[in-house]
Symmetry: C2
Subunit: 288 residues, 2 copies
């Protein structure tokens, strides 16, 4: 018989990407999870009210909502549209966290977005991302939602996320205010020589809003976004990073978010069980 | 008629990878280059003495020799073998630079190497790389060779180079001694939010031993090592980075090193002309 998933383990919807929200919640609950990381697209498919009902009925905690951001556009219509979308995402985060079981976290994961088409001004794009977060901070705080900046691996600096390191995310968060958080995703930060210092810094100001785990697997997939893998299948030292995160004071849910084609193609329940087993082996021992 | 290549432009052998050393030198000279960045494999094909003759006959400067390093193995035979290979590379660098035209630089580019097979201890691998550089420093200094640490894009942290940022390369260089340099390759460092500060730091201690330019092109190639492109075809802001490098006091040759299948497949002379034109357009204006 499979042991029950670790009590702090959260199944991120993206790991079973092709499941509807209802299916994903059923899979998580059926596999014994207590927590679930939601994505906006499956929520939108059923509408926010219905999504909240499904979450409430599941009895699961909500560990975060992925994702908003993508606000590097130059001032103008595209930027206003992005900010409006982020405002909707703030509302969604509040509603879903309220519908989740006690211990749910109203955390909205923010991915900055890449360079606008034909634009090489990385410094400017980063500045606009920081300004957008500042522009949204008051609304998020009023809704009780933590905006959580996710630094992305530098491989994505051009086309997905111009915030490239935990240190940079913290620079932005500290400039905006005490309520802004950061996401620590092992896939994005495992290589960073500054990781111990920046995790300690993040912990000291209570900014670690989410800890996400998955492995960096080589050879990289042709679509590098999909080069993730179950913990233990790649090069990440989960024991070391998890201890650093724990030492930084993070005690919340830990999401497993794996983008990988053959995992998406596998039966959902098998994936949920495999995630829990990999977590028990690679991550849980470092939680003490 | 094609204008002559910029006087500081150096054609790196890897950009015309399939050329022999003799062919590559002929191509560079024929296209009007003054400087050439050598690689060890084509040198080994003809032997060091013959390679030195070819370099001398070419009348070109040697801007650097690529590459040695790959010294992350655990203590034992593999590590000793790597150190011996680095000692040979130091000799080769000295011989080739002496054979080059005045202004040649005895710079040996060092790539740290990745994690040993099955080893997830990134901190340990980095420490061994630093120890290896320290172990080689005296021999390099005696030979008049600058060991130049090349930080590699974090995409390569697992399987090619565990030194991931310019700041980390400088930490190692400063710990070893004043004679250790760094390589600034736009492909590897363009994304780094710390780049201005770290370039200034590198310049203040005179450690920029080589500046290499090529672009970061998306979508990435299936083999991400080959996602480089001519300057101007991708996302790198060459004006900004080149000014930072110039402001840091670097006045040496600038190598164009592009790994890309369709460039390797093109006629060498066409590539040499294309490199010079891209340099004139994207890089030269920032040199003042």
């Amino acid at each position: 018989m499979t042991p029950r998933p670790h009590p702090r383990l959260s199944l991120n919807q993206a790991t079973i990407k092709h499941a509807s929200l209802a299916e994903a919640l059923d899979v998580a609950r059926g596999a014994g999870y207590r927590s679930f990381g939601a994505w906006r697209e499956p929520v939108a498919e059923v509408g926010l009210a219905r999504a909240a009902e499904l979450v409430r009925a599941s009895g699961l905690r909500i560990s975060s909502l992925c994702r908003a951001g993508f606000f590097t556009a130059q001032p103008g219509a595209a930027r206003e549209k992005a900010l409006d979308d982020n405002r909707r995402a703030i509302d969604e985060t509040a509603v879903l966290a309220a519908a989740g079981a006690p211990g749910s976290r109203a955390v909205l994961v923010l991915v900055a977005g890449g360079l606008p088409e034909g634009d090489r001004d990385l410094v400017g794009a980063r500045a606009r991302a920081a300004e957008a977060i500042a522009a949204l901070a008051a609304e998020a705080a009023a809704a009780g939602v933590t905006l959580a900046i996710e630094p992305m691996h530098p491989i994505f600096a051009a086309d997905r996320g111009v915030v490239s390191t935990l240190g940079q995310a913290l620079d932005i968060a500290e400039a905006v205010g005490p309520e802004i958080g950061v996401v620590v995703d092992t896939y994005h930060v495992w290589w960073d020589p500054e990781l111990p210092a920046q995790l300690a810094r993040a912990g000291a100001s209570g900014r670690i809003a989410s800890y996400q785990v998955c492995d960096w697997v080589t050879p990289l997939s042709a679509d590098t976004l999909l080069s993730r893998g179950y913990m233990g299948n790649g090069h990440v030292d989960f024991a070391r990073i998890t201890r650093l995160v724990a030492d930084a004071g993070y005690g919340g849910d830990i999401e497993v978010e794996v983008f990988r084609q053959e995992i998406w193609d596998a039966p959902y329940a098998d994936v949920a069980a495999r995630v829990a087993a990999a977590f028990d082996q690679a991550v849980a021992p470092a939680l003490g």
